[in-house]
Symmetry: D2
Subunit: 285 residues, 4 copies
């Protein structure tokens, strides 16, 4: 057999669905998480010979997630992810790096006591990388769907043989925001960043979704002094005005068809000047 080489590799338990209830006289607090752990380290033997002496089972990782929720609580998804990531590296000599991703599903209190309503409008996220390079935290939000009925134009673009799109001075602009941001060290309260995203989407007169993207990222950097980088992935959810002329009707930007596919996808990073690219990009698998 020829010699082959094991390249980058990782393993872990994905999507542990943890719900924690803090019971209080002034109403309960509900934390609803989806936790995914990935570990790197001295894992060659497991791949080459099936020798698992260096492998902490993914089942153990799941147990640890549940046990830590009880033992230490969940101050924030960022803090909980940091604790978990540091734990695996600190306690297992064979594990050198850990990535912990958490999705948080928000709930709204209904009666101020024991009842909650799931707020499915968005998901809060945190991704922590921990390793020899230290601890890096990215906070984010995903699934936040925004729409503007006007104040969006699109024209002046390149035209080649394959271009048929008419220029427009007024269109609906809609997207599902998938954003992450990071601070130089530690992490920041995600509330202001999330609010800045919505606010900038709303008050930016847009000539391109790219422009809106940059405005959204810049607004986060303006409002959150600790944030050094914002990454945005913005699908352009097309809404096409329906041609009603065949029916003897006009359509003064009133009736639209909401298309599923295809869709534009605009992605970009906005950085504070001089911000350095973090190390763990090599983790991206």
């Amino acid at each position: 057999m020829p010699d082959f080489e094991l390249g980058p590799n990782q393993y872990g338990k994905a999507e542990t669905r943890l719900v924690r209830v803090e019971r209080g006289a002034d109403g309960d607090r509900l934390t609803d998480l989806n936790v995914s752990v990935a570990l790197r380290g001295d894992l060659a033997a497991s791949h080459l010979t099936g020798d698992n002496a260096a492998v902490l089972p993914t089942d153990t990782q799941k147990n640890t997630v549940f046990a830590f929720a009880r033992e230490f609580g969940i101050a924030s998804i960022e803090a909980f992810a940091v604790r978990l990531a540091e734990h695996f590296v600190a306690t297992q000599p064979t594990i050198h790096e850990a990535r912990v991703r958490i999705e948080q599903y928000p709930w709204q209190p209904v009666d101020g006591r024991h009842t909650f309503r799931r707020d499915a409008s968005e998901v809060r996220t945190a991704t922590v990388h921990h390793g020899p390079y230290g601890t890096q935290v990215a906070s984010g939000v995903t699934g936040l769907v925004l729409l503007k009925t006007t104040d969006s134009e699109f024209h002046g673009y390149l035209k080649d043989r394959w271009t048929t799109l008419p220029e427009t001075r007024d269109r609906i602009l809609a997207t599902s925001v998938d954003a992450t941001w990071r601070t130089a060290a530690g992490f920041a309260d995600p509330g202001p960043a999330r609010a800045a995203l919505v606010e900038a989407f709303a008050d930016t007169y847009s000539y391109a979704l790219q422009q809106t993207l940059f405005a959204m990222g810049s607004r986060v950097l303006e409002r959150c002094p600790d944030v050094v980088e914002v990454k945005l992935s913005l699908p352009n959810r097309h809404h096409f005005p329906v041609d009603l002329q065949p029916f003897g009707l006009d359509n003064p930007d009133e009736v639209y068809f909401a298309a599923d596919r295809p869709y534009g996808l605009i992605e970009g990073v906005v950085r504070r000047d001089g911000a350095t690219v973090p190390q763990e990009v090599a983790w991206t698998f």
Copy 2:
């Protein structure tokens, strides 16, 4: 060839994604719908020989949905569905019955002007049947996820050879409400019915999800004098307390595993006494 018979049949355009913007000085109004039409009538020839002389194309049905949004507006999904259903039957001699189902996706205003945020927490529904029996309207809500951290017990049930479930005096109760309701004639404002469902879930001390279901349906009937029947489908979204004893930890109803499958599914109808079962049940395909 032996003679075979064409039984119940229907056809139509499903999932027309219509968005309507009403532009106003005091902020726009956004209506985001998914409209599905099904028609019944003299459709035997189309099935038996491919003679389509009695068939109104589904593409035409889609066009009609868009055009009617412009021509008549959308006062409510119930009214819009009634108008569409009546139109197809009134204008096409070959079409004798119509069912129109509409899902409405709520949006929250962001700036009181042009920007909206999708509220994915629930979907409003309306289903209209129109035919020789008149016009019947069912309003509803689906995807409304509710959870109680306590005030739920489950015990005293049947036990046989296959029963291992321990009785419990305190558990999380969670469900995703799928509810429809109907009035004796016309339709009612869905707001009070939706509010009654949430309220009854919250304030009912529950010994069974069945009991909660009946309480939710009854509350709608109490609060909405025009409503005569409520139908509820309530999956029991199990949250299991995690056994932390192997780790030397107690778990005082704090840390839970949210399970995906299997799940209990509790379904039932609550009626005002003497309410008659509507005719169009035969439509259920």
Copy 3:
């Protein structure tokens, strides 16, 4: 409190994911099922007062599914569903009717020994109703996607003010078959019915998807003497020829856009003459 009435109701454990391995010298046999149970009976007290004395827990139903797979094996999903449905009614005096729905996910042997590849192209289904009316079995297949590149026309249809669809003498016809069929008593081998559906779709020159539907149902009745009724739900998965003229290209029925929504939905029943409508239609919730 006014008196309200409990209407039709049912409960049970949905989506128990059961995998059974029969180990044999000539290769293993793999059965991969999703089992959903619903029960009806003397369930008023549970709804009205939370008294569960008549309630067999859904957890017990799940246990029974697993235990019966070991105790009795799974000769077919129809036979397994019948056994389960009869069991709950026979052993629990408070339970009078049972419905058991099973989805079966096919797997293909890879090496004739222990390895299998999931065949995700279709799902086999069985639905059994058992009650005072006896035992009724519906077999089916769902998710079977078929496409014809030609031999499909659509013209001669009704045209009204809202019609813009051009007639066509040649189009792609594609659908995702969702079919169920039933015999007068017991159930039949589903293989010939499934084959008849595919064969009739392939060799029917189509002037309407309705015509194809009737041909598919009729073919099942021809080939399967025990089958008395076939129910078909056929979404029309539209494939639109792309207009390439703006680019100086023709498009001789070669390049198509596969649309997601909206879609036509054609549904119908084909029956052997004189077949009676089964009782359990009242179960449809």
Copy 4:
């Protein structure tokens, strides 16, 4: 306003659903694709001021996908992606890099003429990066679900305070293969690589899913001399033996519960010795 910097960015049209029919006397050939384009280049102005002079609209990219299918045909998804990627860079001075990802949905001929059945068991993929570094092609397969009923053990792993998993000498091993591979230049026929993955899964006696992963990657490298690197992402689809002892039944590795979440996730790269890491990793967004 403080100065912020635009970091890595890209845009394009995602998920263009293209179906092509080649009509032939000996039966048609059907190609069913989902094409996603992303472009990089001089896009700062679009972000900073909304000046789109350097932006080729995503609508044009969609048109190009359809037109190229007619003009040049689709010899393979790799070749089609290369042609598209090179086109955008070659013809637009403002575009410097292109990534084209294609998913191909297989269909099986039914009658050797015009009818096909969708084979949903797996999806073929190709991802092409084109830029100053040349053209790099990754071929792949995703959604290929494999299961072994035996010949899988798991023991000898690390145990800490949080470990409760019992060691096992016999378990079901199941996964959904997501694999990509690349050659040093150009691309190879994907058939042998796909076959090698299945074969190695089947005939590797497994002490860890990591070991199976390495065996699968190695087998591809053995069988495909042009392939230099294989990347695998293998979820561990847990099948837990059901404890039937409470019911007085044994369970000799026969009845299993197929769990949804959480699941192990094993990911790794297997390389021919000396293979260099490709440049476009920086594209991973």
